[in-house]
Each structure stands twice: as structure tokens, then as C-alpha cells.
Symmetry: C2
DNA sequence: TGCATTGTTCGGCAACTTTAGTACAGTCGA
DNA sequence: TCGACTGTACTAAAGTTGCCGAACAATGCA
């Protein structure tokens, strides 16, 4: 069931397209913030989504080399492959995570402006 | 015909999914290496592909905020939005471009090994 | 003005992605 | 051993992407 690529089998295109999805980027942010998670706990933090849907996303993240996924008891623990990603692509993950935070802050600020400052240009 | 996002409308997910494609990543590497290009010159460097296919890729790169595309005479000049990307996501573009170079070098080395060193594990 | 050049738009097609429902397999606790 | 729990496998529908040919628009040169 596994299929994790070795460190030197990771390709940047796969990493980028894996992270170029809102759901999967959110997963990676959760994993970066916390320690160990099982599938269900991440699923809870993201709000909705069916288990089978997430199984699909786990596979994309796993096969692109972004996460480790290993069974432990009846759970399947998830963790970021930070060491491998940092080794292959120094600064990439940090830049992406910082960028995601930045986007979120910017979005939040924009919403405040829309309420307090009379939004002028949006529909 | 344009539709370029403002700097603060750029979202990291769009950038990542734009660059998570071999063709578009190659385009960005070409733009990073050289100065100004028109559509045809990049198309030539990538080998094949129909013009209309590339028009599609230009749009993805343009609308995600990765490139500028502006008409000049009968050509359409392309350039990387390096300043905007660096401002929004410091280190991201450098990490990606370095990673792409690294992947390519690794791939090249692997091919040499396969010829000289008797490849053991591949199909 | 006529023609070649440059790239866009449009329509269609195949392949892939995302999502979810249902059924199932492994593990832990009672 | 039985049942609850965790997650995968399989299937399928809906949407998206990538690719291309043909027609079109804009420009510049002769």
C-alpha cells in the first residue's frame, strides 16, 4: 500500500503540483504546525470531506515525496518529509509555508477592509 | 486580451500549480536564463507543440502572476515577474529554479550511471 | 494595398483530477 | 470472538486540463 519515493527520486514538478491544490497545501500546513497526525485528525481540521477523498490526497502527497505515511496500530500516521525536501530543495518548503501564511493574512486584511472601509471595486 | 493579476492578487496555490507542469516550468527556466522572448522563440526552445497549445500555457502563467506578457509590434513579449514574485514569496522562485537545475543534473547523472555502471534496479 | 508573420480564439477530444458512496480489511478493547 | 474504529480499494460521475487544427485579428514590410 505504500509507495514512497526515495529522496533522490523526488521531482520538483511533482512536489509543486501536489502543493498547488488548496486541500493539500492546507494539509501540509497542518503537518508543519503540529507533530504527528493520523488521517482522521487532519480531516477534522479541514472541516469536511469524505475519507475516500482524503485517501486520494494522501496518495498524491505520498507519491510526490511530500509526506511519510506509515501504519501504527489501526491508524496511519502522517508526517512531513521535511528533511528530504530541505535536502533536495533548500528553502522551498519554508518559502511555500511562509507564502501560504502571507496569503492568508492578506486575505484576512482584505476582508476587514471590505467591512470597515467600504469596498469599492468588488462585485 | 491581458488579465494580469496585481501583485497582491497573486496566490501561492496558483503559482505552484502553474509551475507544477513540465512545460511551464521549462518556460520559466528559459525566461529566467535569457532576457526578453517572444512566444515563438520560447516555443522553439521547447522543441515541439502547436502555437495554440502554448497560448494556453501563456494564459496559465499570466493569470497566476508568473509572467508578464505585453504586445510589441506584432509580437508578444514575455518576461518573468521576478520582482513581484520575490516580493510576495521571498526565496520561492530561486528555490524552484535551483531545484529544477538540481533535478536535471541528477537525471543526467543517472543516465550516465545506467550506461557506464550497469544499472541494477530499473526496468 | 497585398501578403507574410505572429499569436489569439474557438471547438472538440482524450486524459487526468477531484469528489464521494459503498464495501472491505486490519486492529484494538470488551 | 464480536463490535467499533481507522483507513483503503473500488467504482463512478462531474469537472478540469492539455493538446491540437482551423479560422481570425493585428502588424509590418514590399
Amino acid at each position: 500500500m505504500s509507495r514512497h519515493p526515495d529522496r533522490d527520486q523526488i521531482r520538483i514538478e511533482s512536489v509543486l503540483s501536489a502543493l498547488g491544490s488548496p486541500v493539500r497545501l492546507a494539509v501540509v500546513r497542518v503537518l508543519d504546525a503540529g507533530g504527528e497526525h493520523n488521517c482522521g485528525s487532519v480531516l477534522g481540521l479541514l472541516g469536511i470531506t469524505a475519507k475516500s477523498t482524503m485517501t486520494h490526497h494522501w496518495r498524491v502527497l505520498r507519491e510526490s515525496g511530500v509526506i511519510w505515511q506509515h501504519p501504527s496500530g489501526r491508524e496511519n500516521l502522517l508526517s512531513l518529509r521535511r528533511d528530504d525536501l530541505d535536502a533536495r530543495y533548500p528553502g522551498l518548503l519554508d518559502a511555500i509555508l511562509a507564502g501560504a501564511d502571507d496569503d492568508e493574512a492578506l486575505e484576512k486584511a482584505r476582508r476587514l477592509m471590505a467591512v470597515g472601509g467600504r469596498d469599492r471595486s468588488e462585485t
